[in-house]
C-alpha cells in the first residue's frame, strides 16, 4: 500500500529581490508503509525542499501530497523531520530537548527521564544528558537531534543528512542503530544523504535527483540481502552505477 503519494509536485520560490527558483519540478514519488528510501543528488537539487513539503512546513506550488489518500493540509502530524542545521533548543539541556518531544506524545513526566536516557544510550550519548547543547560537538548535537526525533516516534521519519557531521565509524554504528529501529518499528523513512555507500547500505530504494530544475531522474531498487556487506562485489557494482547516474567523474 502506498502510504505517501507525491503527485506531480512542483515548488517555485519567488524571493522578493531574487530571481525565481524552481526548486522542484513535477516530482512523482510514492513510499509504501515501512519502506526505507534514500534520496541522493547534487547540492541545491531540492532535497531539503522535498522533505519540508512532506512535513507540511511548506506547501507545493503545484501537484498534491497525499498521506493515506488524504491530502496534507498544514503540518503533517504523522511525521517528523531531523533538520540539516543544528536545531536543538539552546536553553534546554540535552535531556530537556528530548523531553520536549516526549511531552508531545503525552509521556508522563516520571517516565520521561528513563525513556530519554534509553534513547541517548542508543545514540551513544548517555553521559551527555545533563549538558547544554553548546557544550557538545557538532556530531554530538546531531545525534541528540536524532534521539529527539526518535523520542517523538512518528510513523514517517524524514531525515536531512543526519549523519553528515560524523566520522565513518560512528556513522556506521548509527546506521545500524537506525536499521534496527526501522526493522522493529516498521517506520517509513525518507533519508537524504550525499554518501553513496550510506544510501546503498540503508535503502530499499534510492531516489536520484538532478538540478536545474530540481527533479527526480532515477529510482533504483536495492535488492541486496540484509545485513549488507559494504565491500561485496554487488555493493561496489551498485556504487559505480550510482556514480555514473550522478555524473561524478572518476
Amino acid at each position: 500500500m502506498n502510504r505517501l503519494l507525491i503527485d506531480g509536485v512542483g515548488k517555485v520560490f519567488n524571493g522578493d529581490n531574487t530571481r525565481e527558483v524552481t526548486a522542484l519540478k513535477d516530482v512523482q514519488l510514492s513510499a509504501g508503509s515501512g519502506e526505507f528510501i534514500c534520496i541522493i543528488g547534487p547540492t541545491g537539487c531540492g532535497k531539503t525542499t522535498l522533505l519540508r513539503l512532506i512535513a507540511g512546513l511548506e506547501s507545493p506550488t503545484s501537484g498534491t501530497i497525499r498521506l493515506d489518500d488524504q491530502p496534507i493540509d498544514g503540518l503533517n502530524k504523522s511525521c517528523t523531520l531531523v533538520f540539516q542545521q543544528f536545531s536543538l533548543f539552546p536553553w534546554l539541556s540535552v535531556l530537556g530537548n528530548i523531553a520536549f518531544a516526549l511531552d508531545s506524545k503525552g509521556v508522563p513526566k516520571k517516565e520521561q527521564k528513563r525513556e530519554a536516557l534509553d534513547l541517548l544510550r542508543l545514540v551513544g550519548l548517555a553521559d551527555a544528558a545533563g549538558s547544554k547543547p553548546h557544550e557538545l560537538s557538532g556530531g554530538m548535537q546531531q545525534r541528540v537531534s536524532i534521539a529527539r526525533a526518535l523520542a517523538y516516534d512518528p510513523e514517517i521519519l524524514l531525515m536531512d543528512e543526519p549523519f553528515g557531521a560524523l566520522d565513518e565509524r560512528t556513522r556506521q554504528k548509527l546506521q545500524d542503530v537506525l536499521l534496527d529501529l526501522w526493522r522493529k518499528k516498521r517506520k517509513t523513512i525518507l533519508f537524504v544523504t550525499h554518501n553513496i555507500d550510506e544510501a546503498i547500505y540503508l535503502a530499499d530504494r534510492i531516489i536520484i535527483m538532478a538540478i536545474e530544475p530540481g527533479r527526480i531522474v532515477n529510482n533504483l531498487s536495492v535488492d541486496l540481502p540484509r545485513p549488507r556487506r559494504r565491500l561485496s562485489a554487488e555493493f561496489t557494482e551498485l556504487h559505480v552505477r550510482i556514480r555514473d547516474l550522478l555524473e561524478i567523474p572518476e
Binding site: 512535513a55 512546513l57 503540518l75 502530524k77 511525521c79 517528523t80 523531520l81 533538520f83 542545521q85 536545531s87 533548543f89 539552546p90 536553553w91 534546554l92 520536549f100 518531544a101 511531552d103 508531545s104 506524545k105 547544554k132 553548546h134 529527539r148 526525533a149 517523538y152
Partner: protein, 284 residues
C-alpha cells in the same frame, strides 16, 4: 598545573589593582583640590563625604537618614518598575506575535516614544498632586513605607520603564529563529506550547536587556522627580535640600549613593539574566 601558583596570584592582585588605580587617583586629586580651595561649601573633603556614607543611619539635616531616603527612592522605583514589567512584558509578547494587535497599538507607541519621561513630571504633579498609593485606595495613613510612594511618581517611573521593556520584548519575540519554531512544530507542539516553551525562552535575553535599560531610566527619572518642589523624601529630595543648606558633603554623598544603587540594580538584573537566559552568552 600548580606550578607558578604564587606568580599567578601576584598577577591576579596586580590585575585587580589596575581597576582601582584611576578611582584612587581621582580621590587624591579631589582631596588635594578640596584642601587647596578650603571651602567645604563648594568642594567637601573626602573624609567629610565618607563620614556621611559610613553613618547611613544617623539623622541628617532633619530629613531622616541617608539609608531611609535611599530606601524610599529604591522602593518607589521598584514599585513603579514592577508595574511596568507586569504590564509591558505581556503587552510586548502579544504585540510581537499578533500582527493585528501590533498594527493597532504601534502608532500610539511611535507617537509617545520620543516623549522624554521627565517631561511627564509636571503633568503627573498637576494631575495626581501628592496623592500617595494608600490614599488612592482610601487609606489615609498606612504607617508603612507605602505612604512615601506617590501615585504621580509611580506614574513617571512607569513611563521610564515602558518603552525599553515594550520595544525590547517585541524585538525579542519577532527575532526568534524560524528554525526553533519549525522544530517545535514538527515535534508536535501546539501553538500554546510553542509560545510558552519556545518563544518566551528564546525572547528572554532581549526582554532582560529591556528590563535593564528600563530600570536604569526609571532610576534616573525618580531622582529628577524627587528634586522638584512638593517632594518630601527620597535621595533626590535629600540632594536638593542639602544644596539649599550648602551641605556639600551630604550632597556628594548622595551622588555617590545614587551611583552605587544604580550599579547595584544593574548588577542584580545581570545576575538574574545569567540565571534565566545564560544560554545566550554561551552559544557559539
Amino acid at each position: 598545573m600548580r606550578r607558578g601558583g604564587g606568580a599567578s596570584r601576584l598577577n591576579r592582585f596586580i590585575t585587580h589593582l589596575q581597576g582601582f588605580l584611576l578611582p584612587l587617583l581621582f580621590l587624591v586629586v579631589w582631596e588635594v583640590w578640596a584642601v587647596h580651595l578650603d571651602n567645604p561649601a563648594l568642594v567637601p573633603r573626602v573624609e567629610a563625604v565618607l563620614n556621611v556614607l559610613l553613618h547611613p543611619f544617623s539623622e541628617l539635616i532633619g530629613t531622616g537618614t541617608l539609608a531611609w531616603n535611599t530606601g524610599v527612592s529604591l522602593f518607589r522605583v521598584l514599585f513603579g518598575f514592577s508595574i511596568a514589567v507586569v504590564l509591558c512584558v505581556p503587552m510586548g509578547l502579544v504585540m510581537g506575535t499578533s500582527r493585528v494587535f501590533f498594527r493597532l497599538v504601534n502608532p500610539l507607541v511611535e507617537l509617545f516614544r520620543p516623549l522624554c519621561p521627565i517631561a511627564w513630571i509636571p503633568f503627573a504633579m498637576a494631575f495626581f498632586g501628592v496623592l500617595s498609593v494608600p490614599q488612592l485606595f482610601g487609606v489615609r495613613y498606612s504607617d508603612t513605607i507605602l505612604d512615601s510612594v506617590q501615585v504621580g511618581m509611580v506614574f513617571i517611573i512607569f513611563w521610564g520603564g515602558l518603552f525599553p521593556i515594550l520595544l525590547n520584548t517585541i524585538y525579542g519575540v519577532t527575532g526568534v529563529r524560524t528554525l526553533w519554531i519549525e522544530t517545535a512544530q514538527i515535534l508536535g507542539a501546539s501553538r500554546r506550547r510553542i509560545f510558552r516553551r519556545v518563544i518566551i525562552p528564546a525572547a528572554l535575553p532581549a526582554i532582560m536587556t529591556g528590563l535593564r535599560v528600563g530600570l536604569g531610566i526609571s532610576w534616573m527619572v525618580i531622582i529628577a522627580a524627587e528634586m522638584l518642589p512638593g517632594s518630601d523624601s527620597g535621595i533626590g529630595y535629600l540632594i536638593m535640600y542639602s544644596y539649599e543648606l550648602a551641605e556639600m558633603n551630604i550632597l556628594v554623598a548622595c551622588m555617590v549613593m545614587i551611583g552605587l544603587m544604580g550599579l547595584l540594580l544593574n548588577r542584580g538584573l545581570l545576575f538574574i539574566t545569567a540565571r534565566v537566559s545564560g544560554w545566550q552568552s554561551l552559544e557559539r
